[in-house]
Symmetry: D2
Subunit: 115 residues, 4 copies
Amino acid sequence: MATHSENPLIDTARLEAVLTEFARARDWDSFHNPRNLLLALTGEVGELAEIFQWKTDAEAEAIMATPEAEHVRQEVADVFLYLMRIAMVLGIDLDAAVRNKIEMNARKYPPKQRD
Amino acid sequence: MATHSENPLIDTARLEAVLTEFARARDWDSFHNPRNLLLALTGEVGELAEIFQWKTDAEAEAIMATPEAEHVRQEVADVFLYLMRIAMVLGIDLDAAVRNKIEMNARKYPPKQRD
Amino acid sequence: MATHSENPLIDTARLEAVLTEFARARDWDSFHNPRNLLLALTGEVGELAEIFQWKTDAEAEAIMATPEAEHVRQEVADVFLYLMRIAMVLGIDLDAAVRNKIEMNARKYPPKQRD
Amino acid sequence: MATHSENPLIDTARLEAVLTEFARARDWDSFHNPRNLLLALTGEVGELAEIFQWKTDAEAEAIMATPEAEHVRQEVADVFLYLMRIAMVLGIDLDAAVRNKIEMNARKYPPKQRD
C-alpha cells in the first residue's frame, strides 16, 4: 500500500493483515466503503462518549479502577478498528500520516521556552 | 503501562514516547484529561465527516486521487492522535484492547461457511 | 430567558417548560451541564448513525417504510432533546439562533439565478 | 407531512416551510439525503464540541458571558438545522417523535419520591 518508513512511530502491518482476512472471510468488503465506515466510526465514538457523559472529570480519570474499565477498553478498540479500516480502504499509510501531522503540529505549536 | 504481548498486532511504543514528550514540552498534560480528549476526538471525527458529507459513495471511494487526499490524511491522523492520547491517559494498552476485541468479534461473527 | 420574536420560525416554549419540570422532578439539573450534555448529544448522534451505517443511500431513503422507522424516530427525538437541553442550560433562544443562522446562510449561499 | 397534535410541544411548521424553499432555490434537494445529512450533522456536532474541548465545566457554564457566545449560538443552530432537515427528508413529525420519547422516558425514569 505504501512504502513504510525506516523510522515508523507505529507499526500496523500485522493488524492490517488480520483485518483484511477478517473482512474477506465474512464478505464484509462491500460494506466497508468510506462513508459506511465513517458512520460506524461516529457510532463507536458515541458509545465511548456515553460511558463518560454523566461523570465528573475526577470520576472520568479514575474510571479504569472501576468495573467500567473493560467497557472503556472495548469502545476505544472499536473506535480504533473502524479508523484503521477507513485508513485501509482509502489506502492511507497511517504511520506516515501521523508522522506528518506531528511535524505540522510541532511547527504550529512550538514548545514553551523555559529558562 | 502494560506488559506488551509477544505477538502484538500494533506497536505504538515509539508514538507514545513522542506524544508524551510533545505534551510535556507544551504543558498540555493538564488539558489532556479523558473528557476533554473525548470532545476533541468528537471534533476531529466531525472534521473528517465534513469532507465526505456531500459526496456520493463513488466519489468517496475515489477521493485519494483528488486534491482533497492530503486533507483526508490529516484528519485521519488527527482522529488517531486524540484516540491514542485517550488510551494513554487512561492507561489502556491499545494493542491488547484491539486483540481482545478482535477475538470477541470473531466469536460473535463466525466466518461464512463455504462449500 | 429571551424576548421571543413576533415572527418565530419555531416555538419551543411548551417543550422547554416540560423539560424543566422533567429534570427538576428527577434531580437531574446538576448533571445537565454543557459538557455533559454535549457528550450525551454525541452519544445520541452515534446511535442515529448506527442505524444507517451499513445501508445504501437508497435503503436509507426508504427506511421509514420498514420496521426500523420507530427506532429512527426515537433517535432523532433523543438528539433533539439533548440539543434543546444544551440551548436551555446555556440560555440560548433557539428560534433567534436559527433565524440568525438562516439569514447568514442566505447571504453566504445566494439562490441560483434562473432565466 | 403529518397530522399535527392539538397539544404540540414544539411547532416547526414555519421553519420547515422556510427550509423547503431554501433548499429548492439552491438545488440542494439532491444532496439532502439521509446519510449525507447525518455526516453533516456529525460535522456540526464536532464544531460545537471543539468550542468546549479545552474548557473546564465552570468555564463551559459561563461561556455565554464571553465573546464566544455568538459562535456557540451559531453551532447550536447548525446542529438543529441539519437535524430538522433529517426529520424532514425522512418525513418524521418532530413534535410527535419528541412527545412520544418524553412519555417513554417518563415511564423509564419515574420521578423521585419526596416526603
